[in-house]
C-alpha cells in the first residue's frame, strides 16, 4: 500500500469517526488555509539544474552535524536512500527505460530533492499535540523543539511528504527534519547566511531566498522559451554570489509548492511531471485547515484520546492486513 493512501485513509477515517461522534457539533467546521507569509524564507529547487553531485547532502550533514548512512560493507560515502534520523536532505533519481537523457520522461532520468518543504499551512504543526513543531512567524521556518516533543510521531503521519523522521534506533528518539539551518546552535538564517545546501550547490539548483522572490523567479523560468539563454543565479537570490548561463530547458508549467496544500516555502520546478518525481497528489486546500476545526472541537470536548485511538486502531488493523498481502510500499 502506498503511504499517501494510508494517509488519506487515516485522515478520512478519523474525520468520518469524528463526524459520526460529533454529528451535532456546529463548531466542527474547517477553517481556511493559513495565509502565505511573503517574507518567509524558502528555497527553490530546480530539478533541471541538478547534476546529482550531492554537495547539498554532504553540506547539510556537515552543518547539522549528522553522521553518514553507510549501507554497504565498503564504507565509501554517504549512501542515504531516503530521509531518516541521520538525513535531512537527499537527492533521488527518477529513471525510465535506458535512462540516457537527462530531464526526459521516457528513456531518461531526472534528479529530485527530498527535504522539508516548509509548508505555509503545515500538517505536522497542526497535528502536534504539544506544539513541539511550530511556524516561526518571522521566517516561516517550521522548527522542532526536542524538549517539548513527546515522541508520539503524529507529525509523521500528518506530513504528506514523509518528511519528519524518528530515531527508531534510540530509546528516546527525536524527530528530525530540516529546519533551514536555523535551529539553536546553527542559526545560519538569523546570522544573515543562507542554508548550507543552497550555499554548497554548484549550479544554483537549490536557490535560497524569500518565498516571494523565489516564486517570481520560478514563474520567470517556467515562462521562458526553451532554448533561450538564461542567466541562472546561484546561492542567495537576494544577493547571488554568481550566475551561470545555460539554455532554458522545457519546463513543465507547474511550480510545486505555489498552491499545493496551501503552498510551501520550498518550491520545486522540473521538466518532468511531479507525480513521476514522487510528489503526492494534493489539493490546494491544506490538510491542516480541513482537520484542525475537527481536532480543536475534539480537544474542547476532551474526547481526543478515545477517538484518536479508535480511529488509529482501525487504520492499523486495516493496514496490517493489507501489508501482509502486498508487502511494503
Amino acid at each position: 500500500m502506498k503511504r499517501r493512501e494510508f494517509l488519506k485513509g487515516a485522515l478520512g477515517t478519523s474525520a468520518a469517526t469524528v463526524c459520526g461522534v460529533m454529528a451535532s457539533s456546529k463548531t466542527a467546521e474547517a477553517r481556511p488555509n493559513l495565509e502565505v507569509n511573503d517574507n518567509a524564507v524558502g528555497m527553490l529547487y530546480d530539478s533541471t539544474l541538478c547534476v546529482g553531485c550531492k554537495a547539498c547532502v554532504a553540506k547539510c550533514k556537515e552543518v547539522n552535524d549528522m553522521s553518514p548512512v553507510i549501507e554497504s560493507k565498503l564504507e565509501a560515502w554517504d549512501e542515504a536512500r531516503d530521509l531518516s534520523g541521520d538525513t535531512l536532505n537527499v537527492i533521488k533519481v527518477y529513471k525510465n527505460g535506458t535512462a540516457k537523457t537527462k530531464d526526459a520522461e521516457t528513456d531518461g532520468f531526472a534528479f529530485e530533492k527530498r527535504s522539508c518543504m516548509h509548508c505555509v499551512d503545515p500538517g505536522c504543526v497542526s497535528a502536534c499535540p504539544v506544539t513541539a513543531l511550530e511556524i516561526q512567524q518571522k521566517t516561516g521556518i517550521i522548527t522542532y523543539n526536542p524538549d517539548a516533543c513527546i515522541g508520539c510521531r503524529t507529525c509523521m503521519t500528518a506530513c504528506p511528504y514523509n518528511v519528519p523522521q524518528f530515531e527508531y534506533d534510540k530509546t528516546f528518539g527525536q524527530i528530525h527534519k530540516c529546519q533551514m539551518c536555523n535551529q539553536k546552535g546553527v542559526e545560519r538564517i538569523d546570522k544573515g547566511q543562507m542554508t548550507g545546501c543552497a550555499e554548497a550547490c554548484p549550479t544554483g539548483a537549490t536557490l535560497f531566498g524569500t518565498r516571494k522572490q523565489l516564486l517570481e523567479e520560478a514563474k520567470r523560468r517556467t515562462a521562458l522559451k526553451p532554448g533561450d539563454i538564461y542567466n541562472y543565479p546561484m546561492g542567495d537570490l537576494s544577493k547571488p554570489d554568481s550566475y551561470h548561463e545555460k539554455p532554458v530547458p522545457n519546463y513543465k508549467d507547474h511550480i510545486w509548492g505555489e498552491k499545493e496544500a496551501g503552498g510551501t516555502n520550498v518550491m520545486h520546478i522540473s521538466s518532468i511531471s511531479f507525480d513521476k518525481l514522487g510528489m503526492p497528489p494534493l489539493e490546494e486546500r491544506s490538510y491542516a485547515s480541513m482537520s484542525e476545526g475537527v481536532q480543536h472541537t475534539l480537544y474542547s470536548y476532551l474526547a481526543l484520546p478515545a477517538v484518536a485511538l479508535a480511529g488509529l486502531s482501525f487504520v492499523v488493523k486495516r493496514n496490517i492486513d493489507s501489508d501482509g498481502e502486498g508487502g511494503d510500499s
Binding site: 487515516a10 547534476v51 546529482g52 553531485c53 550531492k54 554537495a55 547532502v57 554532504a58 553540506k59 548512512v69 560515502w77 542515504a80 536512500r81 531516503d82 530521509l83 531518516s84 541521520d86 537527499v90 533521488k92 533519481v93 529513471k95 537527462k102 534528479f111 529530485e112 526536542p146 524538549d147 516533543c149 513527546i150 515522541g151 508520539c152 510521531r153 503524529t154 509523521m156 503521519t157 523522521q165 524518528f166 530515531e167 527508531y168 534506533d169 530509546t171 528516546f172 539553536k184 546552535g185 554548497a200 554548484p202 549550479t203 551561470h244 545555460k246 513521476k276 518525481l277 514522487g278 485511538l309 488509529l312 487504520v315 492499523v316 493496514n319 496490517i320 501489508d323 511494503d328 510500499s329
Partner: protein
C-alpha cells in the same frame, strides 16, 4: 603492456633498430603499447611492428596542408620519446609536403607537392591542419596565391584517406567561434561525401594521430570511427567518467577558486566551469607533453574547457557550468521510491508501529522521561 615479449616468429628487426636508434625490445614494447591503446590484440602489435620494420618502401606518401591555424598540432607532434614520435612518423610515412618543416622554400616546394599528388594519385594520405574559411570564396587564407578551400578540394581528389588533425580541421575550431568572421569550417564540411577522420583537440594529442596513422599503415584502412568520425579508441570515453577527480564530484566536493583549500586537495573543478562532463577525449589516460605524473589540464588544476568537442570549446564561456547530460546516474543514487531501511523493520510497519505504539506508550514514556529529566536537561537529550 606486460613485460613478456611479443612472439614475432624470428623476424629480423636489426634494420629498424638501426633506423630508429632503439633496441628491438623497446621497439616491440612500443608497438604493443600502441596496439593496446587501440584496443587491438598482440598479433596486431606484431603486424604493426613488422609493417614498420619491414617495408619502408611502402610508406604512404603524405601531403600535409595548413589552413587557418596556429601550427599547434605540428608543434605538439614535434616532441620526443623512445622511439621518438616524430622519428617513427617520419619513418612510417613519406612526408612529401609540410609547410612548417620543409627544407626548401617558395614555389619550388609547391611544385613538388603537385608532382607528388599526381604521381601518387589515389594512394596518398592527406593531412589537414587548420580550418578552412569559406566566406568571400575563401580569401582569408591563401597559400601561394590559392585559397585553402581550393587547395583542400584539389588535394582531396586523389587522397586515399583524409585526416583532419586538430579541432580547427575537424570542426572549425577557435576561428569558427561566433560570429565566425571568416566562415571557418572543418575539413569534412567542405568535402561532402569524402570520408574524413577527425582527430580533434586544441592541440590534439599526437598519440591519437600517430595511432591512427599506424593503424592505416599496418592494415591499409582506417580504424573504427564514432558518429563524428573520430577514432573510437581515442574518443570513446567521457573525460568526466575517467577523471581522477571524479570521486570528489560524486561526494559533492568542489574547488571554488584556484588555490583554495579544496583546490589544493584536488577537489572537482566542475564549479570552475570544467567541461569534462560533456567532452569526449582520452586526456585523462594519455596526459600531455610526455612528462607523466598528472600533466594534463585538469591535473594542473584548471578546468577542461572542451577544446576537442564541437559546440563546447570556444562556444561556452570558460567559467560557464557544463551540462552533465551524459552522466548516467550511478546505481548508488536512491530512486524516488526508495526508503531508508536502517532500522531493520519495514518502513510501513515502523510507521504504523510508531503511530499506534507511539501514541499510546511512547507518549507516556516520553512524558515520564521529560518530567524526570527536566531540571538537568539543557538542550534536549541526544539519546
Amino acid at each position: 603492456m606486460a613485460e613478456q615479449e611479443l612472439d614475432t616468429g624470428g623476424f629480423d628487426f636489426s634494420e629498424v633498430e638501426k633506423r630508429l636508434g632503439v633496441t628491438r625490445r623497446t621497439f616491440l614494447k612500443y608497438c604493443a603499447g600502441v596496439a593496446a591503446s587501440l584496443g587491438l590484440s598482440t598479433s596486431s602489435a606484431v603486424a604493426m611492428a613488422k609493417a614498420i620494420a619491414a617495408k619502408p618502401q611502402m610508406r604512404p606518401p603524405v601531403i600535409w596542408l595548413h589552413g587557418q591555424e596556429c601550427t599547434g598540432p605540428t608543434e605538439s607532434l614535434l616532441r620526443s620519446e623512445q622511439p621518438s614520435l616524430e622519428h617513427l612518423l617520419l619513418d612510417m610515412i613519406s612526408l612529401d609536403y609540410h609547410q612548417t618543416l620543409d627544407t626548401g622554400a617558395g614555389h619550388k616546394v609547391e611544385e613538388l607537392k603537385k608532382k607528388s599528388m599526381k604521381e601518387n594519385h589515389g594512394k596518398y594520405l592527406l593531412v589537414v591542419e587548420g580550418a578552412i574559411p569559406v566566406k568571400d570564396d575563401g580569401v582569408y587564407c591563401k597559400i601561394a596565391g590559392e585559397t585553402m578551400l581550393h587547395i583542400t578540394k584539389e588535394a582531396a581528389e586523389g587522397a586515399a584517406a583524409i585526416v583532419a588533425f586538430g579541432s580547427c580541421a575537424s570542426w572549425g575550431g577557435v576561428q569558427s567561434a561566433s560570429p565566425n568572421p571568416t566562415g571557418a569550417k572543418g575539413t569534412q564540411a567542405v568535402l561532402p561525401g569524402k570520408p574524413v577522420v577527425n582527430i580533434p583537440g586544441c592541440p590534439p594529442n599526437p598519440a591519437n594521430f600517430l595511432g591512427t596513422v599506424l593503424y592505416f599503415v599496418t592494415f591499409g584502412k582506417l580504424p573504427p570511427l564514432d558518429q563524428q568520425n573520430r577514432p573510437k579508441w581515442a574518443y570513446g570515453r567521457l573525460i568526466h567518467e575517467n577523471c581522477y577527480r571524479r570521486p570528489h564530484f560524486d561526494a559533492g566536493r568542489f574547488a571554488t577558486e584556484f588555490g583554495d583549500e579544496g583546490h589544493k586537495l584536488g577537489y572537482c573543478l566542475y564549479k570552475l566551469g570544467c567541461k569534462g562532463p560533456e567532452t569526449y577525449n582520452n586526456c585523462p589516460s594519455l596526459e600531455f607533453n610526455n612528462v607523466g605524473g598528472g600533466v594534463w589540464p585538469i591535473g594542473v588544476g584548471h578546468p577542461c574547457f572542451g577544446c576537442s568537442e564541437e559546440g563546447i570549446g570556444f562556444n561556452k564561456p570558460m567559467f560557464a557550468l557544463a551540462n552533465v547530460e551524459t552522466h548516467t546516474p550511478p546505481n548508488s543514487f536512491p530512486t524516488i521510491e526508495d526508503r531508508q531501511q536502517d532500522t531493520g523493520i519495514s518502513p510501513t510497519a515502523a510507521a504504523l508501529g510508531g503511530a499506534a505504539a507511539g501514541a499510546a506508550i511512547g507518549a507516556s514514556l516520553m512524558a515520564a522521561k521529560k518530567v524526570g529529566n527536566t531540571p538537568e536537561s539543557d538542550s534536549g537529550s541526544d539519546g
